[in-house]
């Protein structure tokens, strides 16, 4: 449990407690603070990237209660009492998460800016649909924009991760 206060003097604030990557964080935040800024600036979790800041690119995607959301379009106060997963929460004690390992192996990233969002959206997809087709992968990732890869290797990486996860569960 960490306690942080980030508000300016005189600002409208609210105390919140959010479980981020399994750890409860309590903070007094301005009501207008976006979840993306809470994660990046209050908690220092800069793996969540801000691309467009206009709900268009998906770079800021995190899981809120297991569901992919654009953290530039959710207020931190809305996450009160909820679980948030960011890219920092993917890695396990055994090392990289299968989706991370798969992106690495398949060269599913170039500049890496879109990658945290891509991987979080992909993990949510694989939880619901452990063996997706190319088309299902492309559809699920259609809210996440990549300006580098041309998507081919991202699709391959998601297939690779699906195979890894299937092996894990067997």
């Amino acid at each position: 449990m960490t306690e942080v206060i980030t508000a300016r003097e005189g600002a409208i604030t609210r105390p919140i407690t959010v479980r981020v990557n399994g750890t409860a964080h309590s903070a007094v935040v301005e009501t207008r603070l976006l979840l993306a800024h809470f994660l990046r600036e209050t908690l220092g979790l800069t793996g969540t990237h801000m691309g467009c800041d206009t709900t268009s690119c998906g770079a800021c995607t995190v899981l809120l209660g297991g569901v992919p959301v654009k953290s530039c379009t959710v207020f931190a106060v809305q996450a009160e009492g909820h679980d948030v997963t960011t890219v920092e929460g993917l890695e396990t004690a055994d090392g990289l998460h299968p989706i991370q390992q798969a992106f690495h192996e398949e060269h599913g990233l170039q500049c890496g800016f879109c990658t945290p969002g891509m991987m979080l959206t992909a993990t949510a997809l694989l939880r619901e649909n452990p063996n997706p087709t190319d088309e299902e992968i492309r559809w699920a990732l259609s809210g996440n924009i990549c300006r580098c890869t041309g998507y081919q290797n991202i699709v391959k990486a998601v297939h690779n991760a699906a195979a890894k996860l299937a092996g894990q569960w067997r």
């Binding site: 409208i12 009501t31 207008r32 976006l34 992919p68 959301v69 654009k70 009160e80 809210g143």
Partner: protein, 289 residues
């Protein structure tokens, strides 16, 4: 981008939500999916004094069948519609529209009722509801009232809602035993609003059209109900001639403007082609299902 400051409330009952909205006398806004309101606040096109986050109001419930129609509770997300088995066949226009709204991540949060309340002339649900037939159920300081969708949209981003009203549900009317429909949308890319969109619904009676609903997205100051096209279909057989005539009338009802997405002439033509395709799909039993 930082929105202006606001008070934030997260009530757990509708009564509480209404009380807060009443107290702020038009200065507070309901926060549902936040997928239209938060972008507007970030751009400072909207700066409400308070937000009443209704996501914890359990009674705003879910998507159910009701008396041959549907009841879409205020917290029903686009994603729930995309996945629902209820939104097929007779409600094909709804089922076809759901996956075409924005992108998968926005659909996780955005709601049908929030979309109606927002009343963007480029919103897809407005056209779908106008075509299929629906009533907006709202609770305000004076109790519950029902607003027919035909009276709901009053201008761009303007509805018949009072500032302290909360939409509790949208009720889709019973389309009858034999009905079908679809939604066609031209978008430049996933996540873009419609260049033009057409919602098509047909309720059949004894092999002919009983009631038809045609409504247009992105080609007017509100979602446009193409009444003349609907009228020419009512009582007719869905044959080639009638379909072509209805498509022509739908295109005539459109009031498109030139913009980055295309010229007015182009959009009008898209409306004609989509109306024709939609009606053909329904005639051939290829409603969204």
């Amino acid at each position: 981008m930082y929105p202006a400051s606001f008070e934030y409330f997260a009530p757990t009952t509708l009564d509480e939500a209404l009380e807060i909205l009443g107290r702020y006398d038009g200065e507070a806004k309901v926060l549902a999916g936040g997928q239209s309101l938060i972008p507007l606040m970030k751009l400072r096109f909207a700066s409400p004094s308070a937000l009443v986050d209704v996501n914890g109001v359990f009674e705003l419930g879910t998507l159910t069948e009701e008396g041959g129609g549907l009841r879409i509770g205020a917290l029903t997300r686009h994603k729930a519609c995309e996945r629902s088995e209820l939104l097929r066949g007779r409600f094909g226009a709804l089922g076809a529209a759901a996956p075409q709204i924005s992108d998968p991540i926005v659909r996780n949060l955005g709601t049908v009722c929030g979309s109606l309340a927002h009343a963007d002339p480029q919103g897809d649900w407005g056209s779908v509801m106008l075509a299929v037939g629906a009533d907006v159920e709202a609770r305000g300081p004076d109790g519950t009232r029902t607003i027919p969708i035909e009276d709901f949209f009053q201008g761009p981003f303007t509805t018949a809602l009072e500032p302290a009203d909360v939409i509790t549900a949208v009720r889709v009317r019973d389309p009858g035993a034999s009905a079908g429909g679809t939604y066609l949308k031209l978008e430049r890319k996933i996540g873009d609003f419609a260049t033009a969109g057409v919602a098509v619904h047909v309720s059949f009676a004894n092999g002919t059209v009983g009631r038809a609903g045609i409504a247009l997205t992105g080609v007017g100051a509100t979602n446009v109900k193409a009444t003349a096209a609907e009228n020419v279909l009512a009582g007719a057989k869905l044959d080639d001639g009638t379909i072509k005539e209805a498509a022509r009338l739908a295109a005539e009802a459109a009031e498109p403007r030139d913009d980055l997405r295309g010229t007015a002439e182009y959009k009008r033509n898209v409306v004609r082609v989509f109306t024709e395709r939609g009606l053909r799909a329904v005639a051939e039993g290829r409603s969204h299902d």
